[in-house]
Amino acid sequence: MSFVLNYPVPRIDQVGLEERAASFKKRSIKNEAKAVGLKMAVSMMDLTTLEGADTKGKVSRLCRKARQPMAKRYDCPPCGAVCVYPNQVAHAVEELDGSSIPVASVATGFPSGQYPLKLRLADVKDAVQSGAQEIDMVISRGNFLEGRLAEVSDEISAVKEACGKAHLKVIFETGELQTYDNVRLVSQLAIEAGGDFIKTSTGKVSPAATLPVTLVMLETVRDHFLKTGKRIGVKPAGGIRTAKEALQFLVMVKETLGDDWLTPDLFRFGASSLLGDVELQLAKLIDGNYQSADYFSKS
């Protein structure tokens, strides 16, 4: 039986899409606009560590950094969330106690998703029980590429149910789906299946979060909102390393979805090394000249 979505999935022209995405890079964000944008980017940052070598100590450091991302003089808000593996969730929750920063956990056999559904759901429940308020699931790219869309959709719905009150971010691993038509289709599918956020990548596959891929997702969210009034969040993750790139994403959000999406509730960056460059740029705005990158923390 063929799988039918409730809303249409328009086709994408690669050349036109990439041209449009590149046009956002031409916006010149200077002075006070730059300061506002950079602090906004920090507030939207899911500060992330996803390594086999993650330890309690590393997670503790990350959590403290999320509370106070940089020196007081920058007057910078805390990060949007801390994102860790399920094993580190309980520790991160403890470290963030008293703050309003949620703990996000990757789950469902991150990053490959190549595990039986039973185990993937158990993975989610475990993370939620440990205190994760946000779950970043990966879809089965294998199922999607085989055209078994109903199974992908059912999986997302099942994970959503397993999440309970936790917010669900659905990771597509767009670098493996390759075409923009695929990204548009999976975005609509994930939204209809119950995802609260749609997210580009795990950060383990390159290319990860590009402007055009994210634009396709923003446009899907826009069209869905205009038809249903439902606001879905978007999270580009992986490969965003400079303040300048972060601003380009924000410009694209502003001009595609408008003011309502310029909030951590509806837009996040998944990034592990972006913060250092943001601090360097903020320092330049205050002090008037660039300092050596050695003066800013890299982890």
Binding site: V15, F225, T228
Partner: protein
């Protein structure tokens, strides 16, 4: 399904700070005529003002060439043709053109700023579109200079002599490049008349010719208004006339040239159809339509000024356009974030406003961006008409401003007949994800340039020109050479 209307809010969150281009430019108070390699005062001693359309204030005084000045310019071009440029080995001519192209690249930023100050176009466009194309045209035709016999095998191509060239105000430097580069590559010499409202960058181009050591008289630039152009066109010792501008003036030029041995090419107005089928890639089509009509404030002869939408997607498409024009930024042409700059002149703004008024009077519905526009200078909000019929003036006449006329069609055959229902035939656009449809529709359209799933793409290797009242002759590519050879 939720029947409530939901709206996106494009407000002040993360509003962009002003980002003006601040590079200093060598703007002069007064510009003279460029004749025989030197800047000379006009014999009558009269000057006119060039106005910054973003402020309405004077930028500089421009020399007004009259018949006696034209005589001098043509004489100097004739002398240069016979003594220097004509006899010069073609490879040497090519070297001058390469040199000019390189100097243009070096001075691209200051030229872009001057172009935006004098003409009102956003710096984003003059910097990223106009100037790169200007240099590309000189590079491209420089390469042809010593290969003409390969372009026309079996023939012995020869230059025509002195070319009189009259160019418009919408792409001042680019049109100068389109005219001058092929003329020189083919061994002709030139007398160029820039448009009255945009002479400044042509005079800076003249300085580049001096810097490049171009022999005196090979290019002469005479500024002035309509009478200056007429004097040049009617001059007995000109062998070739190339004109880009309005169809009305083009007709007068054709009349005056008729019965003389002068060769003529005309690139005139347009009322291009942008045809959007229901199987288009809709968001990219919206972007293409926006680019098609609002690029350079709509001051583009090949602008996609008639939008033909398949009925089944009309409402969705119009809603998307309405949202999109809200995010277009109208204002200071020198701000790097400006999408739509100033209308080139007061007279042009008047013409646009009048035509928009007829659209409303004839029953079309006007949709306009809610953006604020500056109090001084000449501005027009990005706008479009729905409910237009083929008989409305806004569907037939070239508005040459940021105003789009939208009509619907039911079948491909109807789309073609609507698209061809015009006295013009310069360009057209086709939007469909289906390759075979692109070719079958393109085949039936009477337009010189047809873009598929894109719009307003220019390249020096590609010929450009029209059908019917959009003119004749081609500029660009190998075809562009034949307009300057016998």
């Amino acid at each position: 399904m939720d029947k409530k209307k939901h709206h996106l809010k494009f407000g002040s969150s993360l509003s962009y700070a002003p980002a003006p281009e601040t590079t200093p430019v060598p703007l002069k108070k007064q510009y003279e005529l460029f004749i025989n390699g030197e800047f000379v005062a006009p014999q009558s001693g009269s000057y006119f003002n060039s106005v910054n359309p973003a402020t309405g204030k004077r930028l500089a005084r421009i020399a007004k060439a009259e018949e006696s000045d034209i005589n001098l310019a043509v004489k100097s071009a004739r002398r240069a043709y016979e003594k220097v440029w004509g006899p010069m080995p073609p490879a040497e001519r090519g070297k001058y053109l390469f040199r000019i192209a390189r100097i243009i690249q070096e001075k691209a930023r200051e030229l872009a700023i001057l172009e935006s100050m004098d003409g009102g176009k956003p710096i984003k466009e003059s910097r990223d579109v106009d100037l790169p194309l200007v240099a590309a045209h000189f590079f491209y035709y420089a390469g042809w200079a010593d290969k003409l016999k390969y372009a026309f095998p079996g023939k012995d191509p020869r230059p025509l002599g002195v070319a009189g060239q009259v160019i418009p105000w919408n792409f001042p430097l680019l049109m100068a490049a389109w005219k001058i580069a092929p003329a020189l590559a083919c061994g002709n010499t030139v007398v160029l008349k820039p448009a009255e409202t945009t002479s400044i960058t042509a005079m800076h181009l003249a300085e580049i010719f001096q810097d490049a050591g171009l022999p005196p008289g090979v290019v002469n630039i005479v500024s002035g208004a309509g009478e200056t152009g007429a004097a040049l066109v009617e001059h007995d010792d000109v062998d070739k006339i190339a004109f880009t501008g309005s169809t009305a003036v083009g007709k007068r030029i054709a009349q005056s040239v008729a019965g003389t041995p002068k060769k003529l090419t005309l690139e005139l107005g347009g009322k291009a159809a942008n045809i959007v089928f229901d199987d288009c890639t809709i968001d990219q089509a919206v972007e293409g339509v926006i680019n098609g009509i609002y690029f350079n404030q709509g001051h583009v002869c090949c602008a996609g000024s008639r939008l033909l939408i398949q009925e089944s997607i009309h409402d969705d498409f119009v809603a998307r356009l309405s949202r999109r024009i809200e995010t277009l930024r109208v204002g200071d042409p020198l701000d790097k974030n400006t999408d739509i700059g100033a209308i080139n002149s007061k007279a042009q703004l008047k013409r646009i406003t009048e035509l928009v008024k007829t659209g409303e009077e004839e029953g079309a519905e006007l949709h306009t961006s809610s953006c604020r526009i500056p109090e001084e200078g000449f501005w027009h909000r990005p706008s479009f008409f729905t409910g237009v019929t083929s008989s409305h003036r806004v569907a037939r006449e070239e508005i040459f401003g940021p105003v789009l006329s939208i009509m619907t069609f039911r079948t491909p055959a109807e789309a073609v007949s609507l698209a061809n229902d015009t006295c013009y035939g310069l360009s057209a656009g086709i939007w469909t994800d289906k390759g075979s449809k692109i070719f079958s529709i393109a085949d039936q359209l009477k337009a010189g340039v047809i873009w598929a799933n894109t719009f307003n793409k220019f390249d020096p290797t590609s010929p450009f020109g029209g059908y019917k009242e959009s003119g004749f002759g081609r500029e660009g590519g190998v075809q562009g050479l034949s307009a300057y050879l016998s």
